[in-house]
Amino acid sequence: MIYIYFSFIFFALGVLTTFYRKVSYIMATIGSAFPFLAAVAGMHTSFTSNVFVLFNGFNLSVGVDHTSAIFLLIASISWFTISLYSIDYGMNYSKKMPVFFNAALFGMFLVLIARDALTFISGWEIATVFSYLLIMEHKHSFKEAFEFLAFGEISTVSLLVAFASLYLENHSLAIVGSHGNWIFLLMATIAFMAKMGIYPLHTWLIGAHSRAPSNVSAFLSAPLTLMGVYGLVRVLSIAGQPEWWGVLAMIFGGFSAFWGALQAAAAKGLKILPAYSTVENNGMILATLGLSVVAYSANLAVLSSFAMITTLILLFAHNTTKSLLFMAVGQAKEALGEDTIDNVRGVWTAVGKIPAISILISGLSFSAFPPLIGFLGEWMTLEALFQSYKFPSILDRLSAVFAGILIALAMGLAAFSMVKLTGYTALGYDHGKKARTIPSFTMRLSEIILSLIVVLTGFFSPYMLKYFGYGTFLSGLFGVPKPFLIVSSHPVFGVVSPTFLTIVIGTLFLFPLAFYLQKLRKVKRVSAWNGGIALKEKEYFTAPAYSFTLEYIMRKVYSMKEIKVGNKRYVSVKDVTTLFYSGLKRATEIVAKFLSLTLMNGHIYSYVLYTMIMFILLFFLIK
């Protein structure tokens, strides 16, 4: 419990020392180390604070149980590394930013440790509002920040409705125990899906992630969407695990994964691509969660529990890898001052080796390269979906197959888009552009920490499974000693051992490496063969050209248009969901204009006065 209080104190100190940006971010870093300790403490023995009674029936209390401990553990890794990264990165932004940063961390922390709906909503709203202010830190990002806030508030309002219905039924706002009805579940799901950026509620995520400062992007993409998953897991435990929810989650999740991967493949912006990758990963997470629920309702306890650990591993993989990717890409973006994939070529030579390797490692992890953690997550996802033949209902099976197809496509497309990102940025030829030298010690430090986590958690994944309490899926077989083999079911359905894959791949890699190192001096080094003369700047194969074939083949889905304006030619690719929202926006504008001209044509002050009088009247009447 003491860790929680320490954490609060350091976040508060961080807010107070905002004029010394470095100190403030150091406070945030220390402050986010304590949730990790709290999670470790709460992993096996849960604890709760004293109940603080607001008024009758409305209590505030915080605490950690097994579920929140796992999420807290995952989130605190991102919080810690992002705060560490911000110590140097934050110097590029204003002095207000540390306040928002600390406050947003506090809000998220509150969400994860809330024991009742009021604390939960407070944390939720704090996190949303301060994230909005954080996005606003970047110049010219008002539109995107506002879109984020609009969706954030949709989420909060649905959450309020959900908890109101919960209160009506149970006269209790505790979010532990088991009660709740379908309205609660539906509204809460919409709230959390909006936060996770599930199709079709993902449009805010793209603009916000790509416009925000990079530490904020990492922050929004990894821990903030994790809040949505946490919320879903929490409400499912309250509301039981109905089959219809699982089916819907699989369908929405599968489609979201596919859509995210598809749009990522065509993305041109440096941070738009990872943003769509977030949509894809959260889609996969939702689908596996849905599978877990369906399995639970069909009394397939083993499958349900396997799907649940899959969700957690995916979540862990996404959280660490995406934080890493945004950090490394953000460093490159800040150093080069460019924001398209094409213009940030040659990070290796222009910016540094550590960001380049970080981009490479995260790209490999997202493309499911064994034995990185992303590989384990995707293997488990497919393995869980393969077992959908065990479902008794044909509808469940069909929806699982549907989700499986879309997710498999998404995985392939994800590899395609990650090749595009890493190939052009981390490994590509540089422009000969000189990067700005920025103090980057803590940036590189946190990138190294996360890279090590991504690599090593793959290797030690059996221990992670055991630590999360899913030791039943560990076994020993085919000469692999226990507990280094991960099995997907009992009796055994499929097996994988990331540990031994690492050993085998590492050993196979050693011989060529030794050979290469031995011959290193004799190797003749020349520039790439380009038809006999050196490439000019305009002759490089561009990143949009890399994905044009795909865009052309899927031109109906992308609403791809080859546009010709005068001498200018370009290819336009749209996320068609945004068309729906822009239509909605226009309709609202028209209706609002009509109403303001017909119904509400008085002076603004009279409306304010009217509202105040009504508020006071109501206050007395209700009391």
């Binding site: 003749k524 020349v526 063969w529 038809g531 006999g532 003369i533």
Partner: protein, 152 residues
């Protein structure tokens, strides 16, 4: 049991006797069984280009001698320079020589044209032979066989 392998071996044994040349070459015996060739046109009148195509026709069947035409200088063992370079082609030619992995050889086929710069003056490294005049594919093949050490 078909006797094709025997026929093939006998052809290799007999047919390389058909080709003979008096051109002086530096032998590169390590390529005896596999010689990958890349050709570069540096400004010939197209005759040598056509002759290299003709050499790839089934009539000569150079694959039986382990000779292949590579699609990139990075894969090549022997560079055949066709013609005498124009001024603008000197830089690409030297870059190309720079790109070939070692060990490699360069064969200069100067052709029968009067225009261009004499490639001998470019000081290209590892020149194994330098031949004047427009050659038939069979003569070119004989030189290649001599380079790879299959005939004397």
């Amino acid at each position: 049991m078909k006797w094709w392998p025997m026929i093939g071996i006998s052809k290799v044994l007999t047919e390389n006797k058909k080709y003979a040349t008096k051109t002086d070459v530096k032998r590169m015996k390590i390529f005896k069984r596999s010689l990958h060739i890349y050709t570069i046109d540096v400004g010939n009148s197209n005759i040598l280009n056509f002759e290299m195509r003709a050499l790839q026709t089934p009539k000569y069947n150079v694959h039986r001698f382990g000779m292949y035409f590579a699609a990139s200088p990075r894969h090549a063992d022997l560079l055949i320079v066709l013609g005498k370079p124009t001024k603008k082609m000197i830089a690409p030619l030297l870059e190309m020589v720079n790109q070939i992995p070692e060990p490699f050889g360069v064969m200069l086929l100067k052709g029968c044209e009067s225009s261009g710069i004499d490639p001998d003056e470019l000081k290209i490294p590892n020149v194994v032979t330098s031949v004047n005049g427009c050659l038939d594919p069979s003569e070119i093949l004989a030189i290649l066989l001599k380079i790879s050490g299959r005939i004397d």
